[in-house]
């Protein structure tokens, strides 16, 4: 019952997002198409944090590194190697996953605070490298390029906002669907076992390091997809997106939305980016409001926005169960 409601909710979000461009075209607010596209991109970074924090129990403060590798993979692929859209996209995602595979070997041997620190340290190292290697990365100024065409024969190009929206949408839906299948798979069960009790997991024959390493690489892949999409979306890559503050923001999005839930990161990212867009229009120092909102959400909803929703469903269900039990006991009395 609960899982059916959950799946229905997930499908509803996916379908609703598909109609966003049509709706906005009717309302004449095409500006918001790009905001929502951006939300979907950043939600992949938040999902990457969520996979580690919510499903494997590792707090990473350095996921922006893999986002940055995805971003620079595309930007360097297009501007230095003259690659087309898809080769550049795959180069970015591959670079991010490969980096995660290497960094993961060291990082997953540590847990909790130490893991958080080592992920920050790795991301800081490459942030400074990207800042100083100006001839390749453009440093702080960044690297601009013109987007290659998506599909020449069909005349599809990312310069069209609606095409771009659906391009990002389809990739994001694929990623979240893959995420859902992953956490429900035997591997996902292993993730949960490692998260809940590392010792017990290793005693029943689970290789804890390997399991964490796999999760770390998949998280790097997700962040890499986000970064690659972001580069194509902004036609731009900059070292500033690799700074630890970006990673921290992704942690906040993930927890505010609800860590350990599938859609939590998407909801958290959407809530905070939309709130920022709205408030920044009326108040110059809108970040004060954003900070206050973040604090209030975790104060009153420690399990995040989606956490509240799930609690509501569960409470209703236990009420239903109790009612059924009452009826049964009444029937028995008769």
């Amino acid at each position: 019952m609960a899982s059916r409601i959950k799946w229905a909710g997930i499908a509803a979000v996916a379908i609703a997002l598909a109609f966003v461009p049509l709706l906005l075209q009717q309302l004449g607010g095409l500006f918001w198409i790009n905001v929502i596209a951006e939300i979907m991109i950043w939600s992949l970074l938040a999902a990457s944090v969520n996979l580690l924090l919510g499903y494997v129990g590792l707090l990473s403060f350095g996921q922006a590194l893999y986002f940055g590798f995805g971003m620079y993979g595309v930007a360097i692929g297009v501007s230095h190697f003259g690659l087309g859209l898809w080769p550049a996209f795959f180069l970015g995602v591959f670079a991010a996953s490969a980096m995660a595979a290497i960094a993961g070997v060291i990082a997953v041997r540590l847990t909790w605070h130490y893991f958080a620190i080592i992920t920050v340290v790795f991301s800081l190292i490459f942030y400074f490298v990207a800042m100083s290697a100006k001839s390749i990365t453009g440093g702080d100024d960044g690297l601009s390029f013109s987007t290659p065409v998506l599909w020449e024969a069909a005349g599809l190009s990312l310069t069209d906002r609606v095409t771009q929206f659906y391009f990002i949408y389809l990739i994001c839906v694929a990623c979240f669907a893959g995420f859902a299948l992953l956490v429900a798979s035997p591997l996902g069960m292993r993730f949960a076992a490692v998260r809940d009790n590392e010792k017990r997991a290793s005693l029943i024959g689970i290789n804890v390091y390997l399991t964490r390493w796999i999760a770390f690489v998949i998280a790097g892949f997700l962040a890499g997809v986000g970064g690659a999409l972001f580069a194509l979306f902004g036609r731009y890559a900059s070292a500033s997106y690799m700074f630890y503050h970006v990673s921290g923001e992704a942690v906040v999005w993930s927890i505010v939305g609800g860590a350990g839930t599938l859609l939590g990161p998407l909801i958290g990212t959407a809530l905070l980016i939309l709130f920022r867009e709205v408030v920044s229009g009326v108040w110059e120092n809108y970040l004060i409001a954003v900070g206050a909102l973040v604090i209030l959400v975790v104060m009153f909803a420690p399990r995040g926005v989606v956490g509240i929703f799930n609690d509501l469903i569960e409470r209703r269900e236990s009420q239903d169960d109790r009612a059924a039990a009452d009826i049964k006991s009444l029937a028995e009395m008769d």
């Binding site: 906040v252 970040l287 900070g291 604090i295 975790v298 420690p302």
Partner: protein, 284 residues
């Protein structure tokens, strides 16, 4: 050679200031189990307050006033924001991140976004190892050292300090013995905040003063805390100085970015080889 000496001494001076800030982070961390992402911004608020107060009443009054304001700020923040979310460490990351946004943006709105510099309160230089060295920098190092010593004396010699150590050692027994644990925790957060602001006041004349300086100091303080070994206060001091001197040394023959990268690489090596800190096994 002059450059090597100058940058090494600079590293030592900076390391002592960072040690003071990292100690504040470390006691908050050890007692309340909070990953305080806003700690760098506490330092930043210290530099800004020092500049503003020094502009009206003079630097020496600022040096006394800023840590007191820090204590008050810390107590208020603990009551309003930290205590309601202390149930999980991951939640306090979010609340302190929100706090960091609020502090930075408030400073930007009131103080302005323009980086400023503060004139040295003690002008002039002295000859030191064959070069002319700023007097204020030496004073800053000496004063930071004094504060660190005072902090350790406070922890070991006063009732309140003993209580802090007791709560840290065993919270339940401390409660049973009648120690007001909640208030001790609140005071510890205030003290840690005050130390960050004090570090900011000391550093204000030798660094740029703007709303973003906290972002750079935060990872450095965290590294000192972790390399020194979580909860190992003396280790934190040693690690802060070691990291800063190393960075000073490397930047004497390479550019500062490379120096930063080197110290980060050393750090990941230490974390990998000795995850409990360089000084694991040393006395607490």
């Amino acid at each position: 050679m002059d450059l090597v000496i100058a940058l090494t001494i600079n590293g030592l001076v900076w390391g002592l200031i960072v040690a003071l800030i990292a100690l504040g982070l470390s006691i908050i961390f050890g007692l309340l189990d909070i990953i305080n992402v806003a700690h760098g911004d506490f330092f930043m608020v210290g530099t800004v307050l020092a500049l503003v107060i020094a502009g009206t009443t003079g630097f020496w009054i600022a040096l006394v006033l800023v840590p007191l304001l820090g204590l008050a700020l810390g107590l208020v923040i603990e009551r309003l924001v930290i205590r309601p979310t202390i149930t999980a460490a991951s939640l306090t990351i979010v609340t302190t991140f929100g706090l960091s946004m609020i502090l930075q943006e408030t400073v930007r709105a009131t103080f302005g976004a323009q980086p400023q510099r503060m004139p040295a309160p003690i002008p002039g230089t002295v000859p030191l190892f064959g070069l002319e060295y700023d007097i204020y920098r030496l004073f800053a190092a000496f004063f930071a050292m004094l504060c660190i010593a005072a902090f350790f004396l406070f922890l070991s010699r006063t009732t309140l300090g003993t209580w802090i150590r007791a709560v840290r050692h065993d919270r339940e027994t401390a409660t049973a013995l009648g120690i007001p644990v909640t208030r001790v925790c609140a005071f510890t957060f205030g003290l840690g905040t005050a130390m960050a602001l004090l570090g900011g006041a000391i550093a204000a004349p030798i660094t740029t003063v703007e709303f973003r300086t906290g972002i750079d100091i935060l990872p450095v303080s965290f590294m000192a805390v972790v390399i020194g070994g979580l909860g190992n206060l003396k280790g934190t001091v040693a690690a802060a100085i070691l990291l800063a001197v190393l960075e000073g040394l490397v930047s004497s023959f390479a550019d500062p970015t490379l120096a930063r990268i080197t110290s980060l690489a050393v750090m990941s090596g230490v974390l990998f080889a000795k995850p409990n800190g360089l000084f694991a096994g040393a006395t607490r």
